[in-house]
Every structure is written in C-alpha cells, then in structure tokens.
Amino acid sequence: MLTVPIDTQILFAGILFFLGLIGLLVRRNLVFMLMAIEIMFNSAGLVFIIAARHWNQPDGQVMFIFILAVTAVEVAIGLALILQVYHHFKTLDVDAINNLKDDR
C-alpha cells in the first residue's frame, strides 16, 4: 500500500502546476506555451486522481476523462492556430503578433 501523505501528493501536483505556469509566463515561443498549458492541465488531473483515491470514489477519474477530452480539443485547435500564425507571420514569437495593439 502507498502510504505517502496526501499533502505530499498535492504538493507534487502543485509543483508540476507551477512549473507549467512558469513555462507559460517565461517562454515566448507558441509551441512551448502550449506545452506549458498541457503540463498545467495534467497536474490538475493529477489532483483529481489524488482526491479520488482519498475519498475512494470513481468521480475523480471520471473528471480526469473529461479533462482528457478538453485537452485533446484544445491541442487540436491550438496547433491549427499555431500553423496559421506561422503562415501569416513566418515566426512563432508571440511578441511579434501585435496587429491588434493600439497605435499610440
């Protein structure tokens, strides 16, 4: 039996989430930003699984399946958008995509 305290498990999920958040805020490449969002989704699912084990209910795993579906859609749309951005701007730098910015 696994006897790791639930605090440690949640801490592990939290570390993963913040690594994803740091990656999202620091990186300027669109592919890396999408990867960071993936990491955050995954750690959120991890918390659901930890809670499912703690309460011994299947609901957490059901929620993980929903997160999986949402992630799949998000990745498909996100990558299609990245391809379009690359066709238009010939770069993946988010700072270069500023057509909606106000002219001051």
Binding site: M1, L2, T3, V4, Q9, F12, I15, L16, L19, G20, I22, G23, V26, R27, N29, V31, F32, L34, M35, A36, E38, I39, N42, L46, I49, I50, A52, R53, N56, Q57, P58, D59, Q61, V62, F64, I65, F66, L68, A69, V70, T71, A72, V73, E74, V75, A76, I77, L79, A80, L81, I82, L83, Q84, Y86, L92
Partner: protein, 172 residues
C-alpha cells in the same frame, strides 16, 4: 512502497523542468513525454490503473504525436542537419537514463505491490464506466459536442486558402 512514488515524482519534476527550459522544441517534447510517462506511473501507484493506461495512450501517444508532427512541419528543410545533431550523445543520454530509471521503478513496483484486483482501495474501470454513463451522462454528451466543435474548428483552421493569382503572377 513509498520510494517508488518519490522516484517517479522526482523524474516527472526533473523532466518537466528540462521540458520548459529547453531550446530545441523536439528535445523538450521528448522530455515532456517522459514526464507524462512518469506521471502515469504515479497514477498506477495511486490505485488508478485505468487512468494510467489512458494517460499513456492518449497523452503520451496521441497528443504528443500531434505536437511532434506540427513541430516537424514548422521547420521543413532542416532535417538533415537536425538528424545529425540528434545523434550527438549528449542529446539523448539524459532522457535515456531517466527513462531507464523510470522503467526499473515500474518493474520493482509491479513486483512488490499486491495485484491490483486484490487490494481493496482500487477503483476499477467498471465503477468508472458505470459512474460515467449514469451520473455524468449529460457531461458526456456535452463533451461529445465539444469534440465535434473541435474537429470542425481544426478542419476549418487547418485548410489552406485557395490561390487567387496565377502562379506566374504571384510575387516571390
């Protein structure tokens, strides 16, 4: 038994750090796949074997393949140089070591933990399925609508615009 959890968790954290701090997108994706596999081992240790299998099949299998395809599509023409760089040992030595440690961790955990069906706390796929298709049936339908919208959206965004100009007239 806790040591297996800690090993898998530290591999997940290390490879995630490598994934978000890498320069080359493909290497980062390889580290991200390793991180997902490590998290899948954690899921198995957390008495969720069904979700562990889903994590490997859908995350590490399907979603990461999409990522790799798009990354390869974005820098066409550099393949030969890139392939030479991949064969450099310092590129693959760290992921290989981490993956081997993870594999040994999984083997030892499988040998030492009691079989899944015997331990009481495990939530089996049957329970998950019953809950999914009774209590959460509306949510399943909404997820189906979302997937449909995703398919149509990806098709629309991915389709190339038709050229208006003749190819001799367009600017190079």
């Amino acid at each position: 038994m806790d040591i297996f959890f800690y090993i898998a968790a530290s591999i997940a954290i290390i490879s995630t750090i490598m994934a978000i701090s890498g320069r080359n997108a493909i290497h980062s994706l390889m580290f991200l796949i390793l991180s997902l596999l490590a998290i899948s081992v954690v899921f198995y240790l957390l008495d969720a074997p069904f979700v562990a299998a889903l994590e490997v099949i859908i995350y590490a299998g399907a979603i990461m393949v999409l990522f790799i395809f798009v990354t390869m599509m974005l820098n066409i023409g550099l393949e030969k140089k890139q392939e030479k760089r991949w064969l450099h040992s310092r590129m693959w030595i760290l992921p290989s070591i981490l993956a081997i440690i993870l594999f040994i961790d999984l083997i030892l955990a499988l040998r030492n933990l009691p079989p899944v069906a015997l331990s009481k706390q495990v939530i089996l796929p049957k329970q998950v399925g019953i809950s999914l298709f009774t209590t959460y049936l509306p949510a399943v339908e909404i997820a189906a609508i979302l997937l449909m919208a995703g398919v149509i959206g990806a098709y629309h965004l991915g389709s190339q615009k038709k050229k208006v100009l003749h190819r001799f007239l367009e600017k190079k």
